[in-house]
Symmetry: C2
Subunit: 457 residues, 2 copies
Amino acid sequence: MSIEPVLARIDADLPNAIERLKELLRIPSVSTDPAFADHCQVAADWLVADLQSIGIEATKRQTPGHPMVVGHVEGDGPHVLFYGHYDVQPVDPLELWDNDPFDPQLEDTPKGQVLRGRGTSDDKGQLMTFVEACRMWKAEHGKLPCKITFFFEGEEESGSPSLIPFMKENAKELKSDVALICDTGLFESKTPAIITQLRGMLCEDFTITGPDKDLHSGMFGGLAMNPIRVLNKVLAGLHDDNGAITLPGFYDDVPELSDEIRSQWQSLAFDHETFLGDVGLKAPAGEVDRTPIEQVWSRPTCDVNGIWGGYTGDGFKTVLPSQASAKLSFRLVGQQDPDKIREVFRAYMANHLPDGFTVEYRTEKGAPASQMSTEHSAFEAARVALSDEWGRPAAFAGCGGSIPIAGFFKDILNMDAMLVGFGKDDDQIHSPNEKYDVESFHKGIRSWARILDAMTG
Amino acid sequence: MSIEPVLARIDADLPNAIERLKELLRIPSVSTDPAFADHCQVAADWLVADLQSIGIEATKRQTPGHPMVVGHVEGDGPHVLFYGHYDVQPVDPLELWDNDPFDPQLEDTPKGQVLRGRGTSDDKGQLMTFVEACRMWKAEHGKLPCKITFFFEGEEESGSPSLIPFMKENAKELKSDVALICDTGLFESKTPAIITQLRGMLCEDFTITGPDKDLHSGMFGGLAMNPIRVLNKVLAGLHDDNGAITLPGFYDDVPELSDEIRSQWQSLAFDHETFLGDVGLKAPAGEVDRTPIEQVWSRPTCDVNGIWGGYTGDGFKTVLPSQASAKLSFRLVGQQDPDKIREVFRAYMANHLPDGFTVEYRTEKGAPASQMSTEHSAFEAARVALSDEWGRPAAFAGCGGSIPIAGFFKDILNMDAMLVGFGKDDDQIHSPNEKYDVESFHKGIRSWARILDAMTG
């Protein structure tokens, strides 16, 4: 079957594809906040109906958390599974959005047309690139090119608590030849990338308690230890002056890059000054003896994602607070074990708490880093297809983010996973004014059509 | 005139005095939050009416902020001015209150009956001790014992922006022989105190900005500097390992205690283990080479009163935020100049900001420390009267808090100010579940009647 008529259909139908995506984006399926649970159900229902409209047998599958959507279609050739997630990040601070995050709008920008709204890039827009590719293939050929399983989750942004149990319980149903995952980005905006290296993650969400009530800083200041001061000291002590993390043994299981990867990365035109300059920054913040691309792709990190304590309203209140809190995340690489790092961090915290202070932890979330195998024939097919579509050789790249699903496919279902995505560095995912370039959406759909063609041709 | 019948009237009328105070407490006159401005007007109106009911010529006087209340009554003997403030602190975190902060209730506790609610101790309850003493005196004798000016402000908890201009514009009207101020506490719950030493204050409310938008910590973590990390480092660096403040020259204008004060303080039974133990703490947090009483009364401090940045809601968001903010206050002593300390702090901040980072300051609030003169005869009269009422010798004590009004009376009106109050260390002022002991209120009223008697007898 020729790919050209499918690509032509994709081009012609793009306005309709955007309208369908907008429908899905209008459903505020924020997974981390229980107040939005009903919307997650509605988003799953929408996807079931949309898959059914292409002739795919799809069902909503309840879990203790938000539901999964699973769909199957029979066909010849390889059996591929496609994974995406329909849940989105919270939208606060809402006042920094230029418009309603759940009323997506097309917008002309100097860099081209974009669709702006929560989830446009992460991950509803990316998920729909594959669905639209299938819809157009079916419209042209009356059937899909191979056996496909669709697998969408609604808890990716909240730690995927139901994912592993669901994969285990339904292993036979989900087992395929290879998993395709669309939740990553292009390399430097124009070069297609297949991600083969992902950082893991350890999250710690905790509160330090000192005095058993808020105190007046005039009456107690100087004599009573302030929990914010303790928190500042604990967090400031996590990095040394060279930007390295100080926890004992933290780097023990961090591998050095192979010469091959190092030279491949050196050949990539990664311009960290532009990368940082695009978001208003000047100097790299990581370890001074590592290149910027290593800092973001292959080195472990520690970042405070949230901090709060005391009086934060208008005006001034000279309170000496009882508590101070933070949300901390470590990005892990190589063989770093989240459980071991957690232990080391908590021992460090215990050593730094003044007598009488306590700490309460609210999280137990961690995933190790993963290194993809690229042996499945899908990788070579995708490399050729992506290079054809984008007019540049596709890169086998690293990724700073954590996409634990890739490791789960290997561990639980013994399947290789291939990560291909079309996000750009300035998509502002997890931030106000998230967007997805119409070019990413359009060429993303075309890319999947070409990849399916290359895999089955 | 004998004091006994006045004291007897005070005892008999206590339930009515409590009811009047409750009326004032029900008005949520939070000065720092503009949403409560109308309530400040209502509280001022209530005080005007209450003073008028005792035959005092009282008026509400508008300012660019919240209004002043000024009242005059003629009489023989010395001319005293009484100062108090009718505004209160914000009530958040509201969920930590056991009942509505603006629906004050009498409550029996193991330590005696208390009135619980915002402003009971700071400062509506204290302010009313003097008003009630005057009311009973008038009821007994038909007139007050001397010429009295009443002066109540509604901006004490928000930096008193209108106070100095108002004092200057109305200097002639306000000028009296001595100012009586009721906004301080007892010494160790049972011993009356006249405060002769007050710490000053410098507040800094600021936001550090790094990246020009929130970033995804997976995509940027390790490479992009996190403003929370910068803030932690800046704040953690303000204290050294001995608890001393590190800003260059910070201690230059801090005097050593005189031998006389040092030995007087040593004779006070200040038990810091109990003082700290009452609020769940164990060890003193101040300079290790200073006694606990010095740490809280005569040494300068630095405390973070509020901190915030990044994602602070439920769940987890791996954001690398654009901004991080804090509210910081320094308690100043001796000749420390708030303007100079501000300059030194801001220079320190500028030195610690990474290239490309900016900081925005929202406050310009500062007041130097003050040392009271105790030469006016009112001090000796009060010492005797307080000792009689409480059955223990009154202490000339220091106070960790900042009550800039005392200095203003000296500087602007050339009047000595005498600080007498009946708060207790566990009143939880500025905190949830603020209370005022009924004993403080009752014996406070009796104390003022005795002081007026001693000053005019």
